[in-house]
């Protein structure tokens, strides 16, 4: 007679393993956050945040990088938001599922899967070289907007789809045109979902390095205009770490990067929860 392992025993053994692995995974996350915080938070002071890097970052603060990051995010959003929300509106309100929408969706999904290094290559070839914009916040922001586009389209589309159909019907029955209905009824109702997508995009911008380093360059000077090159926090961190310039500053920058992204992501989840609660 063949012996069979008691299935109850197997179940218990498996359960222990599963919980163990899961705990391990979540443990990694907390470990990363704690480690960075412990090593990096002490470095952050008001001075650190508001003074410029000195001596290639060996000392001084990160102010110029914070400014460059903000400028870059601004350019990226100014392009990606209208494009993204416009595309989402078109897909949900103005067309029915057809070959047109399939192509648009396919393009959007493929774009979402393109690794940042290829985006960086493209940004370099197109914005920096072909369009002669050179290494600049402009090149970086425009390339970055392409990276953000799929996310904004996807989240906006979901938010708009979630708006109850009856609201649109009622608006039409009151003699209101489609575009007016979109701007006065649909978008306001979808706003929290759309904003969540934008907030998550900001988080991605902050952490992105490969795209930026090939398009915005790495000049440590405070950028005077969008045509100037600028070094974002992520790029600065990468260079500090890679070249071993200053470990304390590297940790400090890492802490700012990680914690600001974490706070932004948590903020986005919070907005989404409020939105879902209202429905």
């Amino acid at each position: 007679m063949a012996t069979r392992i008691n299935p109850e025993f197997v179940q218990r053994a498996v359960k222990i393993q599963l919980f163990g692995l899961t705990g391990f995974t979540i443990g990694i996350l907390f470990f990363i956050i704690c480690f960075i915080s412990i090593k990096g938070l002490p470095q952050i002071s008001f001075e650190f945040l508001t003074s410029n890097p000195v001596d290639m970052g060996r000392s001084g603060g990160v102010f110029a990088t914070i400014v460059s990051t903000i400028y870059l995010i601004f350019v990226a959003l100014v392009i990606a938001i209208p494009l993204g929300i416009g595309a989402a509106i078109y897909l949900t309100e103005y067309t029915r599922e057809s070959w047109v929408t399939h192509i648009i969706r396919f393009g959007t999904e493929c774009l979402a899967g393109i690794p940042s290094i290829i985006l960086g290559l493209f940004g370099f070839a197109f914005f920096v070289m072909a369009l002669r914009l050179g290494w600049s916040i402009l090149s970086g922001g425009m390339t970055m907007s392409i990276m953000l586009l799929p996310t904004i389209i996807r989240t906006s589309e979901e938010a708009i789809k979630a708006v109850a159909y009856e609201l649109r019907e009622v608006s039409f029955s009151l003699g209101v045109t489609k575009w007016q209905t979109v701007t006065k009824v649909v978008l306001p109702a979808a706003l929290p979902g759309i904003v969540t997508g934008i907030v998550l995009s900001i988080g991605r911008c902050i952490g992105e390095t490969a795209v930026v380093i090939f398009t915005a360059g790495s000049s440590l000077r405070l950028p005077g205009s969008f045509f100037d090159s600028g070094r974002t926090m992520a790029v600065h961190f990468y260079i500090l770490a890679r070249e071993g310039i200053s470990m304390p500053n590297a940790y400090g920058t890492a802490a700012i990067l990680t914690l600001s992204i974490l706070i932004i992501n948590l903020g986005a989840y919070y907005i989404m929860r409020q939105f879902l609660k209202k429905m």
């Binding site: 029915r96 109850a164 009856e166 609201l167 019907e169 009622v170 608006s171 039409f172 029955s173 009151l174 003699g175 209101v176 045109t177 007016q180 006065k184 009824v185 306001p188 109702a189």
Partner: protein, 251 residues
């Protein structure tokens, strides 16, 4: 009384499926036409044709004519937005816009150009009074409309339609699921409104139709079985099917 709406040889197809066939009826001005019939008889579809809300449904095809004050409203180049301000609709479920009570009513007039604050306030008050809602909300016009009860919300929807100063009001099962007091208030409001508006009411509730209509149309499976004054239809119906429906043998 003149004929406000005339439906002539009207057929409605949804994806090659005939929903309404050879419809011929008229709606007299300043009267209430009650359209009754069991589920899936095409009543709601007919209503939605009258304000061209049927345009929202994909894959439809119509032939025949529908005249409003002599003009064929089925013509493709008709300004449907303008039509919908003349022919207002109240749905079977109250759908307040996520705004204040005042803003719900001011929504359409504002979009169509009314900017004067005082005029808007007068319009809001007048509409709410006609919908028998004014006394209940006059002190909280700027509270969210979603805080109102179901019956109040439906009266708000009626007031919102009235704020467009339409000529025709379409109502699709307006008191469905509402408490008896709200139902009564709405029926009372309609009796008063018919003096200045033309009203078309769709209802599965034959008693309601009998209570308030001047004329009645009985629709069954997309066909107009019988049309006449309310008193005729409910006392001496000409068609056996009408009789069966009224006496509750089906539907």
């Amino acid at each position: 009384m003149s004929e406000k709406i005339v439906v002539k040889d009207f057929n409605f197809y949804y994806s090659n499926h005939k929903v309404l066939s050879d419809l011929n009826l008229t709606v007299k001005a300043n009267s209430i036409l009650g359209i009754m019939g069991p589920a899936k008889s095409g009543k709601t579809t007919l209503l939605r044709v009258l304000n061209r809300l049927c345009d929202l449904i994909p894959n439809i095809h119509v032939d025949g004519e529908v005249f409003l004050d002599g003009e064929n409203i089925l013509l493709p180049d008709l300004n449907v937005d303008k039509l919908r301000t003349k022919v207002g609709m109240v749905f079977d479920k109250p759908v307040p816009l996520p705004r204040s009570i005042f803003e719900n009513l001011a929504y359409s007039p504002r979009i169509h150009g009314m900017k004067d604050k005082r005029k808007l306030e007068e319009l809001v008050e007048k509409s709410l009074k006609l919908a028998i809602l004014w006394d209940e909300v006059k002190d909280r016009l700027h509270e969210p409309a979603t805080k109102l009860s179901g019956g109040q919300q439906q009266r708000l929807c009626i007031a919102r339609t009235l704020a467009m100063e339409p000529e025709v009001i379409l109502l699709d099962e307006p008191t469905y699921g509402l408490d008896p007091i709200s139902t009564l208030k709405i029926e009372q409001a309609l009796q008063v409104l018919k003096k200045n508006y033309t009203i078309v009411l769709v209802s599965n509730n034959t008693w309601q139709v009998a209570r308030i209509s001047d004329n009645v149309a009985f629709l069954l499976m997309g066909e107009l079985i019988e049309y006449g004054s309310a008193s005729e239809i409910f006392t001496v119906p000409k068609d056996k099917r009408t009789n069966d429906y009224i006496s509750g043998r089906f539907g």
